[in-house]
Subunit: 230 residues, 2 copies
Amino acid sequence: MALNKYSNTDKILLAVDCIIFGFDKGGLKILLIKRDFEPELGKWSLMGGFLKEDENLDEAAIRILQQLTGLRTIYMEQLYTFSKVDRDPVERTLSVAYYALIDIEMHDEELIENNSAQWFSLDKAPDLIFDHNQMVEKAMARLKRRALSKPIGFELLPSKFTMRQLQKLYESILNKKLDKRNFINKINSFGILVRLDEKDTHESKKGAYLYTFDKEKYDEKVLEGFNFKI
Amino acid sequence: MALNKYSNTDKILLAVDCIIFGFDKGGLKILLIKRDFEPELGKWSLMGGFLKEDENLDEAAIRILQQLTGLRTIYMEQLYTFSKVDRDPVERTLSVAYYALIDIEMHDEELIENNSAQWFSLDKAPDLIFDHNQMVEKAMARLKRRALSKPIGFELLPSKFTMRQLQKLYESILNKKLDKRNFINKINSFGILVRLDEKDTHESKKGAYLYTFDKEKYDEKVLEGFNFKI
DNA sequence: ATTTAGTAGTGTAAAAAAAACACTTTATAA
DNA sequence: TTATAAAGTGTTTTTTTTACACTACTAAAT
């Protein structure tokens, strides 16, 4: 079947921009890069790149993320496509935003330095170029909704973590204080955690039990979803 | 500031495809068109078009929808961007899917006929071209989630409707039977309905009260969201 | 050796929300 | 007048959510 191509007039550049979330004891953070090219040289922005002819959007997002963090197995999700006509002053460009959750201790620090990237707490993040602030806002809202309907944390926490860390993660995503006992009861009711015989003594003299996720039950809950409602 | 343009190599065609939902006594339906052009001439597909240089995606979606239905004030939401490299056999094309909710009785029947379009119940819809089946599936999932977190119905129902119609709408979106009394109690607890002194006698001898939405309270609930959980 | 300080860990009762459930009313047509 | 078919209406039970306070543990300071 020899098909004529569609008219050529309205082809458009497509960017992929990534909102990269990480979590450490300072709370929820995003990874930003300082631009070393025009336009907006020297300003902060999300990590991004252009979609290539031979890859789909997920692949582009993975490529871009690996470029910055060195990581391949990352939780990632397409967020929204931004299309304001003049959003990029250089040339009409659409941007498909992705958000990613990564374990902040797993990435390649050298790579990040080479890209002059830096982690920022959400409330201390600088103003970003173009419509990137709006992208971050939308990603936060999506992350919040997701945290209430599916387990999250596996992607953001180290493989062993304390109950307190998990709670703090949820607190910084939902942006509110949670009751310790209610939180534990709820989490335990999902049956996705395994308590180890190890303790973490960094944060207290008594030491706090370390947990891991029961990968199988975790994935089950990711599929079926749950109702956090806390 | 004279900026050089980005490299020109990877510009791509962008389509916008619309999943158009309607509702009548047969249940939830989608509007499909029979293609009168290649490729896939004669097959069924979603209504779509290409993004133009001087419009953003929302504008393109509105334009495309008006072309088919004649309607302008439509509830519409961007759904997802589909990007598989070979999704369109003619040429690399990305498609941004939008879904729309319209009052099935408000559209321009002539327009629809001219476009050889037709309403289909979801379970009786034909196989669609390209990745359009996947788009419909994703739209259904989104619609379901949305119906549980915000009021919906204003967009799909005529301005006056019976409690039973509203319940059937929810039943066909959620794809399950609901208890009559629990449904009414829940809906009333939101305070978004106004009961009129009119009755609709099409469906029963006794006649059922007609309701309208209290636009102000409805919009309030759209903003703050609610927890349907039924 | 004792005290102090700081975080970890634990359960129950009250309130709110959701689910289950069945009979009466009404108007028309037979 | 009777049969029919959908409309309308509340209460109880169960489940889920929320509110709430004390003891346990260990290391460091005295």
